[in-house]
């Protein structure tokens, strides 16, 4: 990972849903080619950070820069066009659409032939190809996660945001998800992950950030954080 360009930089981000602020000045960055993890207790604002980066929630202060474009307060469809994709924490697929239709929706903004992208997704998740005519709502949890990630990969994004990609999955599936994330990264996509499963996530990450009540608490290289005693005690269950 010799590349040093920052693909995403978030500076002093402040935001919230009501009058109350949830994020009180978060700063993070991702360099091109990196996997970066964000960990922190429930309600610390991890998902809120993701939503704000992607333009679903308006920032009240701070700045977000993606590939030299100021995307502070920019709407999701414009963010998508710049080359960022997002797999939300919940409801990450269209249940009444088939797998194929889910993937097609991921490429909605493209008007040309998308079969190259489809083949690429099927190569990563072969199970999706066989079942492509099946409604996503009737798939298993692991398959639904694949559909969600596959949809987000349809435009070959430069940066992929994943909000708790392993949550609620059986251990085998969880392993599969982390392996696929590493594989997607090796193929050239930078990745920002929010995870409860901090050990696994930091294990595949170049760097990580620890948030607490909407503020940066720790940051460092993945391995460093795994060995940090405070982080261990607070978030990794000792």
């Amino acid at each position: 990972m010799g590349v040093k360009v920052k693909i995403l930089e978030v500076r002093d981000l402040v935001t919230g849903y009501t009058d109350l602020n949830i994020l009180h000045g978060i700063s993070i960055h991702i360099k091109s080619g990196e996997i970066v993890s964000i960990i922190g207790p429930n309600g610390s604002g991890k998902s809120t950070l993701m939503k704000t980066i992607f333009g679903l929630l308006r920032p009240r202060g701070g700045a977000i820069v993606f590939k030299d474009h100021d995307i502070t307060g920019v709407k999701p469809d414009a963010v998508v066009r710049l080359g960022m994709s997002y797999v939300p924490q919940e409801k990450e697929f269209f249940p009444s659409l088939t797998i194929l239709e889910n993937l097609e929706m991921g490429a909605f903004i493209r008007d040309d032939d998308i079969s190259d992208s489809l083949e690429r997704i099927y190569a990563i998740f072969p199970a999706l190809k066989e079942k492509r005519q099946i409604r996503a709502g009737s798939l298993s949890g692991g398959e639904q996660r694949m559909v969600g990630i596959g949809r987000a990969l349809m435009l070959s994004p430069d940066l992929l945001l994943l909000d708790e990609p392993s949550a609620g999955l059986a251990p085998v599936m969880r392993n599969m998800v982390f392996e696929k994330i590493a594989e997607i990264n090796r193929a050239g996509t930078s990745i920002l992950i929010v995870e409860q499963n901090a050990r696994r996530s930091l294990g595949i990450s170049d760097r990580g950030y620890v948030l607490e009540t909407g503020r940066n608490r720790f940051e460092g290289r993945g391995q460093e954080l795994l060995e940090n005693e405070d982080v261990l005690r607070l978030y990794l269950g000792g």
């Binding site: 469809d77 998508v80 939300p88 269209f94 929706m105 903004i109």
Partner: protein, 284 residues
Amino acid sequence: MQLVINGLVIGSIIAITAIGLSMIYKTLNFVNFAHGDFVAFAAYIALFANASLGMHLASAFLVAILATIVLGIFMEKVVWHPMRRKNASRTTLIIISIGLALVLRNTLIFIWGGSTRNYNIPVRRGFEFFGATIAPNQVLVIISAFILVFALHCLLSRTKIGKSIRALSDNIDLARISGIDVDRVILWTWVIGLGLAAAGGVLYGLVTAIRPDMGWYLLLPMFAAVILGGIGNPYGTIAGGIVIGLSQELSTAILPTEYKFAVSFVVMTLVLLLKPEGIFGGAK
């Protein structure tokens, strides 16, 4: 047999008119109480084009659908879209739709009066079919409804815009995240939902007298069909509409006709109590 035929006729009208109600309910998360009055509006436009302008009913049918869609687009642009931008609550939207329903209905009364009207078409004799008399208009209604449902199916399952309409009603946030132009797809949802409602309204005028409140009274059966079919599930709504139409008509065999409309209410309540996600909508 007669009751089954009548039930199928009214059922197909409920089915195609209710689809729009269902899609808008699921996508925008509110019940459009004006939906029935759009149905009546379409019947009156067709009546005007046919009886006053002397157009053939087939052209009047198209004119009515077009006019209803234009009115629907206008409402989306000046009312619904601005309201969404202001994050109006669901209650606000419902109250606005009730207001709109009243305005529409009273406009119809103001222009055409409150009395019942009929299209200016030749009266043709019905034919016998297993002991029942079927009017040609009834056949026309069932065939048209069938064609419309088939066209809708092709649109929803084959075209990009159709798939995105379904995607929006599934998960509007994910649609936005995927880069789908949500406002444009919502506009299409109105166009298709109200286009079908208008078609249903014109067809309804073939088998019943045209009155300003014809759509308002259709709202309860439509709503029952929506609930029965699972909110936002167009195919479920179609099945629900047929079931409601049939049960309404068949109930007249044992109950006084006045109780017809109570049937949809009873069916709807039972479904809500026993299987709230709808009989045909469970596969989520």
